[in-house]
């Protein structure tokens, strides 16, 4: 692999960071390799927003190669929102462009006294004073920095959310591609790093190019003909929303209702029928799930599934145009749409139940289906005034101030994504054990629960409401998706494991087998857990919120009660984790080659 550029914002010095070949084999790249690198830097005393807090932008070995849906990179560090492991991967073109500069990653430490932008123009590195860009939204910055520097290329940046160090600030690139969750934008803001512009003229290193090119063509052709690709291309990431709604897997009114009148408007099909004007893809991707829509004559990014549900049924609304506008607003401010909309849903729900009463004019307007209320909440959050002061803390910390933390639909401080585990029981384990909290991007097991299982890696299909019998399946899926997050490959790419192995070997020149890759996935999963233990995690918080343990009274999953404790007990057993502490057993650590790290 190409070197990682190390940038010390205290001194303005640049250096290169060598990566041992063994790490490339054992941790692949992307989030896996990032976990190994950051293991040595992260500890419980580290302030995520302090100058010593590291922030790592990293590609995978396949990033930018025109392989199937691999135009992605990952950003990692310690989450200001949860205090635990943070990773957030992002599509678009920035990662591919970074590789063309001749480096595969950027490791940022320190803190600048004044706002700066980092410029990489091939192997020329520069910190550009950026006072005039501070305060700009993400879209304006990307346009202005390209206009100022004039070398072309791709820019990523934070918005006001990151500048003000809101704990769920996102990082955006390529006009609307988002590294959304875990608040890594706040770390950039704390370092006064407004953005990073990359321009390269090289090509990612490929060890056996002719072999790679044949496999690349074959897998891209197969991917293009996949039925799920057809759904995603035609309907976007919300393509299956109708089906998920039918199954009762799409939450409404902050996970309190199984049905909502008009929810059929919340779907990729509805967007295609009413407002779609174009499609966008990430670098080299044959799927093109990105939407371009027209809202009241304004062209903007169309909402993906999570934003559509978050600013839709989650807050009692069913207008895709409104969800698009709120998604655009959050993108411009640079804040995560899932966390923002979940916080708003929480406020409405608490007021409905009479569990929270704030002497605040905006709070008094909190009710389901109020577009004005939702939009004002977003503005106030960025301004950190009124109700927004609380929302800016993140839902869990907000709730804790009022001893309402048990009411928050979250795990380990991260709000749950909008795939209800009552509609897909496998997601209960995924949410509880994900290394970054209740997220769906460490394993999208809801897809396995509707049939996307690969028998070649030992997976079987279980009913979406099956219990402990599917736990082994969930583990395989988590390990498999850890490989994707290391590559960094989009979950939407339905590529078989053999092809992934062939693609990887032809790029790296290694000769790894599918079982070795699956073991790497397991190693990465366990390593992220070890990092979380270093950061203060304990298993008392590895539980599901009571809202999702309460059966729905209506909808496609009405009456279903998750056998969560039974599933978790099996999970620890199959993972080889101590049932009392949740820590990987000595034997497991030895098997995965992690024992030495543990003792260190």
């Amino acid at each position: 692999m190409q070197p990682i550029l190390k940038v010390d914002l205290n001194t303005g010095e640049f250096s290169e960071m060598p990566i041992p070949v063994e790490w490339q084999k054992d941790y692949i790249g992307g989030a896996g390799l990032a976990a190994r690198i950051l293991f040595d830097y992260l500890n419980i005393d580290l302030d995520p927003l302090g100058p010593d807090s590291p922030l790592l932008f990293l590609n995978g070995p396949l990033s930018g190669t025109f392989g199937p849906a691999v135009g992605r990179y990952v950003i990692c560090g310690r989450s200001p929102l949860t205090g635990l492991w943070a990773e957030s991967n992002c599509g678009g073109y920035w990662g591919a462009e970074l590789r063309r500069t001749g480096v595969d990653g950027i490791f940022v430490t320190g803190k600048s006294k004044t706002p700066v932008s980092l410029i990489l123009n091939d192997r020329n590195f520069e910190l550009l004073p950026s006072e005039e860009f501070w305060g700009m939204d993400t879209y304006d910055y990307q346009r202005e920095i390209l206009s100022r520097v004039k070398c072309g290329g791709r820019a990523l940046s934070i918005g006001l959310g990151g500048e003000r160090q809101i704990g769920y600030s996102s990082i955006l690139a390529d006009h609307g591609r988002v590294a959304g969750r875990a608040g890594l934008g706040a770390i950039m803001g704390s370092k006064k790093l407004k953005g990073i512009l990359v321009k390269g003229n090289g090509f990612p290193p490929i060890a056996r190019f002719e072999e790679f090119d044949v496999i690349r063509s074959r897998t891209n052709r197969a991917l293009k003909n996949d039925p799920m690709t057809a759904v995603l291309t035609e309907l976007g990431s919300a393509g299956a929303a109708d089906y998920l709604d039918y199954l009762g897997e799409q939450p409404k009114k902050y996970f309190s209702a199984g049905v909502l009148d008009g929810s059929e408007k919340i779907s990729g099909a509805s967007i295609s029928e009413t407002m779609l004007t174009g499609k966008k893809s990430c670098h080299g991707c044959v799927i093109a799930c990105g939407r371009v829509v027209s809202v009241d004559g304004n062209k903007m990014k169309g909402p993906e599934y999570e934003t559509l549900v978050g600013f839709g049924p989650n807050v009692g609304l069913t207008d895709p145009k409104f969800a698009s506008r709120m998604g655009d607003l959050c993108d411009r401010y640079g804040i995560d749409t899932i966390t923002m909309s979940a916080g708003i849903g929480f406020v409405i729900r608490m007021r409905e139940l009479g569990k929270l009463n704030l002497d605040d004019p905006l709070f008094q307007r909190a009710e389901w289906g109020s577009e004005d209320f939702v939009e004002e909440c977003i503005h106030q959050t960025i301004q950190q005034t009124g109700l927004g002061k609380y929302l800016a803390m993140g839902t869990y910390r907000f709730a804790k101030q009022f001893r309402l933390e048990d009411e928050v639909v979250q795990v380990n401080g991260m709000d749950m994504a909008f795939h209800d585990p009552r509609g897909s029981s496998g997601m209960s384990i995924v949410y509880a054990t994900s290394p970054r909290g209740a997220c769906h991007n460490q394993s999208d097991y809801f897809m396995a629960d509707i049939g996307h299982v690969d028998p070649s890696i030992g997976m079987e299909f279980y009913d979406r409401h099956a219990g402990a019998e599917k736990v082994k399946n969930v583990i395989i899926h988590q390990d498999y998706r850890s490989i994707f997050n290391a590559l960094v490959m989009c979950y939407f790419a339905n590529v078989d494991p053999e092809s992934i192995k062939d693609l990887l070997n032809s790029v790296t020149g290694f000769d790894q087998t599918v079982p070795e890759l699956l073991q790497a996935g397991e190693r990465i999963w366990n390593l992220k857990r070890m990092i979380n233990f270093k950061l203060g995690f304990n298993i008392s918080t590895e539980i599901l919120p009571k809202a999702v343990l309460t059966p729905y009274s209506d909808g496609g999953s009405s009456g279903y009660e998750l056998p969560f404790e039974e599933m978790m007990a099996k999970y620890y057993e199959f993972r080889g984790w101590d049932p009392q502490t949740g820590f990987p057993s000595e034997l497991k650590l030895q098997m995965l080659g992690l024992a030495r790290l543990d003792s260190s």
Binding site: E234, L235, H452
Partner: protein
Amino acid sequence: MASFPSSEWLSNFMEKLNADEQYARIAKNWEGDLLFVIDPEENLTNSAYLYLDLWHGKCRQVEIRKDIGEAPAFILRSGYTNFMEILSGKLDPMQAMMTRKLNVKGNMLVMMRNVPTVLDFVRCAREISQ
């Protein structure tokens, strides 16, 4: 009970669709004909082509074809075993479509938009097959 796939089964299915009140209600907006292509497996030695013209909750015409013929709005193609698994309730038809077990040629937007119709259509098929 008529065996699948046969002209008798197809006639029974048409009769069922046109008599079923629930199907008529759920599929009231459906417009589009479809063709099942059942590839030979197990006891089925030749491909079978079953055509249905579906319109606003009713079945207007059925036909056993010799080949694909004039292209309908949707062609649903799979092996005999997968079709039987769908008819016996072992395989969810939406899952089958999204996981390549049942290949769909046609507008996926319409298919994804009409999940309840698809599932109720299959319910009717199951009820005359079990």
